[in-house]
Structures are given as C-alpha cells and as structure tokens.
C-alpha cells in the first residue's frame, strides 16, 4: 500500500478501494434489502430504501421461494452435482498432477500441455457440440454431469496441483516406498495428506464455480426433470414479462449464502494453495 511519510495510507488509495468495495457490495446489499420487501415496494426508484412498516414482508418471500417452485429439490440437485464434481476433480486431478510431476515422459508432458490449453478454450466454443455429445453418452443427468465438470475443471486443478506437487521432495515418496508402501498407498497415505492446503483451495474454487454455474446444466440437463438452483431462479420470471421479484431476491440470497460461507471458511487456504509451489519455501 502506498503510504505517506508519517505512515498514514495514501488518501487516494483509500478512496479508490472504498469505491471499489461499494461497487462490489451494492448488488448484494440491494438483493438482501429487497428480499424482505413486499412485491409492490420493489422498484428501481426504491431499490436501496430500507424496508418500512408497510413494505416489510418478513420471511414471506423466503417461504414463497422455498415452497412454490421446488427449491429444496433444486438444492438437492445442486448439492449432488457440486459434491460429486468437486470430489471427482480433487481425486482425479491430484492423481494426474502426481503422474505429470513424477513421470518424465512425452505422455506426461502432453497431458500437462493439454490441461493448460483447456484453460484458454472458451466454453462457448464447445457448448453446442458438448450438449449433443452429453445426450449421446447419457451424461445429461445430475448423477453423470460430474464427468463433464471434471473435464472443464481439470485444467485449473491440474495446473494448481502440479505447482504444489513440484515442491514436495521426492525423497518423501522414496522413504514411503522403503517403508513398505505400494504406489497407491504412497499416494493416499503420504502424498494426499501433504496436499491438504491445495486440496482446500482447489475445492473452494471449484465449488464456487460448479454451484454458481448456469450455462452448462441448462445446456446439458433435461430441464423438465432437473433444475439446479441457478436454473430455478429463472423460473421466477413468469409469462408476459411478469417477475416475482420478492421470492426471486430471496432465492438468490439463499443461493449465494453457502458460497459466501465456504469462501469465508476457506479464504486463507485459497491464497496459500494458489501461491504453493510458486516460491521456494
């Protein structure tokens, strides 16, 4: 931080970051305020007014959001997809990164480059062919969609895991081999526990992405049967342009709450995990 001679942070920076924080916070504050207002009190001119006696709706919007459109079912689908996808990404990508780091051959180099390349391919480029392929391979259910998420999440996860894996001395694995471990035991009993900080960081990042994702499930899942929470929010927009603003705002608050909690809990590890392997420690 830019500091003046007497140690007080530069006023310019303070103003700049205050404005930036306000810009980030204003949609969340607006949604939170309006989720407690009655439908008629929600408009663009009164978006930032505090709920008053007449406009305060209590938790009725929340009850409506949960009860009317099958919120709990959507929540279960979102949870199922997020948990299976993140678990698969953590397990497969950490193993893949272990192979890439420890086996020095053409295949490992090719896999690494492929993973790095997958990070720069825009989703829009592959989305239509993907939805067709997913239908053919029967990956269009909440139980199978995790395979597609594994493919899209592998790039970043392998990249982060490889960075950390390089900082683990190979002697630790050799010591495990001499102590009596086979390769699987070496991975699960020795390497896996050491990866914990990176696991948490990758886990948090991937959870936020899968939980919030709207486009991929909309394209792949059978929307008549399965709706994730981000998809459900759209269903508060009725026909003829009518929007159930109160329940929609309540639904959005309920959707972002778990992500905020997970981020706050894992925040420390995200920085640690992303920096791991970047510097020699």
């Amino acid at each position: 931080m830019n500091r003046s001679k007497n140690g007080i942070p530069g006023l310019g920076w303070t103003v700049f970051f205050s404005i930036l924080s306000a810009l980030y916070m204003y949609p969340i504050v607006m949604i939170l305020l309006n989720s407690f207002k009655v439908e008629t009190a929600i408009s663009t001119s009164t978006a930032f007014q505090m709920p008053t006696g007449d406009s305060f709706a209590g938790f009725s919007n929340y009850i409506d959001a949960i009860a009317s459109k099958g919120f709990l079912q959507s929540m279960c689908y979102s949870l199922l997809i997020t948990i299976t996808s993140v678990a698969l990404i953590l397990l497969c990508c950490s193993m893949c990164a272990w192979y890439i780091t420890r086996v020095n051959n053409l295949l490992s180099k090719a896999v690494y480059l492929l993973c790095a390349f997958s990070m720069v391919v825009p989703f829009q480029m592959v989305m239509f062919t993907l939805s067709q392929t997913a239908d053919r391979l029967k990956l269009n259910t909440p139980w199978n969609i995790c395979v597609i998420y594994l493919g899209f999440g592998a790039g970043l996860a392998v990249f982060l895991f490889s960075g950390f894996m390089k900082s683990i001395p190979i002697e630790i694995e050799e010591a495990a081999m001499i102590d009596g471990c086979n390769p699987l035991q070496t991975y699960f009993k020795v390497v896996f526990p050491i990866l914990k900080p990176t696991m948490i960081s990758v886990g948090v990042l991937e959870t936020m992405w899968v939980w919030n994702d709207y486009l991929l499930p909309t394209l792949v899942l059978d929307i008549k049967k399965y709706r994730t929470v981000p998809m459900l929010i759209q269903y508060f927009r009725g026909s003829y342009g009518r929007v159930e603003m109160g329940p929609m705002m309540a639904c959005i608050v309920l959707t972002i709450l778990p992500v905020i909690v997970i981020y706050l809990v894992g925040q420390k590890h995200i920085i640690k995990g992303v920096l791991a392997g970047a510097v020699k420690g």
């Binding site: 001395p169 002697e171 630790i172 050799e174 010591a175 495990a176 081999m177 001499i178 102590d179 009596g180 471990c181 086979n182 035991q185 009993k189 020795v190 526990p193 050491i194 914990k196």
Partner: protein, 396 residues
Amino acid sequence: MASVTLKNIKKIYPHSGKQKKGEKKTNLQVTDKGVVAVQEFSLNIADREFIVLIGPSGCGKSTTLRMIAGLEEISEGELYIDGQLVNKVPPKDRDIAMVFQSYALYPDKNVYDNLAFSLRLKKMPKEEIDRKVREAAEILDITQYLDRKPKALSGGQRQRVAIGRAIVRNPKVFLMDEPLSNLDAKLRNQMRAEIIKLRQRIDTTFVYVTHDQTEAMTLGDRLVIMRDGFIQQIGTPQEAFEHPANRFVAGFIGSPQMNFFDAELIQQKNGDYAVVLGDATIVLSSGKQARLSTKDVQPQSVILGVRPENIALCEDGGNDGNQARICGTVDVCERMGSAAHLHVKAGGYDVVIVVQTMDKNGPTQADFAMGQSIAFTFSGSVAHVFSKETEKNLEF
C-alpha cells in the same frame, strides 16, 4: 544383519531428449546407451560391517546406494543381500532402511506417527508398535518430541527422527545418504559421535555415503573411494591414508591435501631406489625399497607425494642422508589454533606444511612472516611415488 555383495554393477542413464549425443558435462563415460554413472563396481560387504562410500560430487556414490536400496534400477551386474539376488526385488521387500540427506520425514505426521508408519504398514500389533517406537525414541533421546510435527523440530532433532524411523524396522542393512550434510559444523560433530554410539547399540550392516572425509575416516570400517563412476580404492581408513592406491586417493584423503611434485625415480649404485627432487635426493625407506623391487619398477619420471604433516622444518640445515633440505619462502600462514598451515613457495611449487604450534606446555612456535626464508625436509618413509602415466602408486 546381512552381507551385501555387489558384482560388476553398472548404471547407465539413458540420454535425455535435451542432452545431445557426445555432449560431455562431466568426466563420466558417455556411450550410445547413455551416461555411465557407475561401472565395474564389485564389493563384498561383510555382515555387521560399516562401509563408507566416499568421493567428490557426481562420482556415483549416491547412485550406488540408491541401487542397493532399490530406488534405481541396476543396468548391469548382480546385487545380493544376505545371499539372495535382489536386482528385481522392490525396495519394500529388501528389508533395508534408509536415512536421506533431506530427512524425508512425513510433514503431516507427528514424530510418533513417523516412527510407527512402517510398522503400521506391516500390520504389527499396537502394543508392539508402541514398544518399538518408545524404545527407538529412548535410544535417540527424542521421547519428549513424540507429539511434535517435524516443522517444530530443529535440524538435529529431525535427523534423529529420520534415524529412528530406520531403527524401528530393525533392518538387515542400514543405508545412509549424506545424513549429516545439512547440519552445521558443531551439530555434525555431535551427530557423528551419536552414529558411532548407535552403531555399537544396533550392530547391523551399514552403508554410508558422504563426501566428508572426517566422517568417512571416523565412522567406516572400510572406505570405498570413488571417482567418475569407478572404484579407486577399497580399504580401511588407515590404509587409504598411508598407502593410497593412486594420486587421486592420495589427494582426496587427508586434509590439508597431499603435496605433489614432479620428480625422478632413480636406482643408486647399490640398487636402492631414491627420488630426485631438484637438487635434493631422497632415499626411500626399506619397506618401499622392497615393494618397488618386488614389482621390478624401472627408473622413470614420477609424481612424488608428501603429506603436509610429514614435512619438517629444518632449523640447523642438517641432512642425514635419507633426508634432503629444500629451501623456500613463506607465502601464507594460516593459523588453525594448535597448528599452522604454512604455504611455502619452493622450486615453483606451492607446498603446504603443517607446523604444530602448541604442545602440552603451551605455544611452541613463533609466528611466520610472509616472505620469510625457510628450509624443510622429509624422510624417504613418507614419500609416495606415483606413475606419471597412469597416476597409480608404483608400490602396488
């Protein structure tokens, strides 16, 4: 406890993609198959013997140890542990334990779990694991640290844990790869003494790799001195010091390093061998005479080697026939406390002489000034004669 036999072991590292054929970064032999890191390595390690592999960096000592451990594949040759061929046996089934230079402790496990890890893999009963772990901790004096994670330990304590992890397994062969090189000088001396005590307590076969000759001389029953993948000499520390097989061993063992001179080996009228160095003629001792005669060594140009400790300063310029007086000027005087290392310029050579400056009564020697003229001498019994062509000791 077991014997280890290495028969004509060879290790070839295939050419990597980046490395061009014929490119030579070290003195190691490069063949079509790859870089030969170790070759013609044959050694019998007796049961309960402490063998030290020593040599400069890149000589193949760690590679040899890793081949014994099973961490490197053996390209050619045979390796026997306790009479059983183990070339294709995985490390976990060789019944060996290894202590690494970087400790290689499991960072997420506390000291107790680090020590118990291999025993748990063997599915040993809990009570027995506990007994063995506490016994090893007792031996190494780390009982009070059993609950700590490795990051909360000092370097010396971590090294003890690494040794403890090997002890609990009660292995047939104990392998140590430069275990003290990450410690500071004081701790290294302390740990060296600990290893000597440990060896007496656990009494098993040890193979120890180091590039530190003090460790090698103090710990080993026998030394295997290596260079560029080849064994240079196998022998007890005293043998290697007193009768070096070649110029490399003579220069590598001993600190400060042996002095080398270009000289002429002659045979006098009475048949005695002598070495002519400048104006001085040094008649070799009777033992050396006998060995040179037995080998029927002909007069020739040689490399003469004399250890700095075997050179004496002349005070009265005396010459007793077997000794010769060589004059020079003091270039540098390094004071080491109880001794001084004098660097003397004499006849175009930089000669190092160790002068004792202390005895039981206190300081004995005055200071040496830069440029001061001095004369020194040595006897024929301490002169080592090496062939100029092969650099081998002509006595062997």
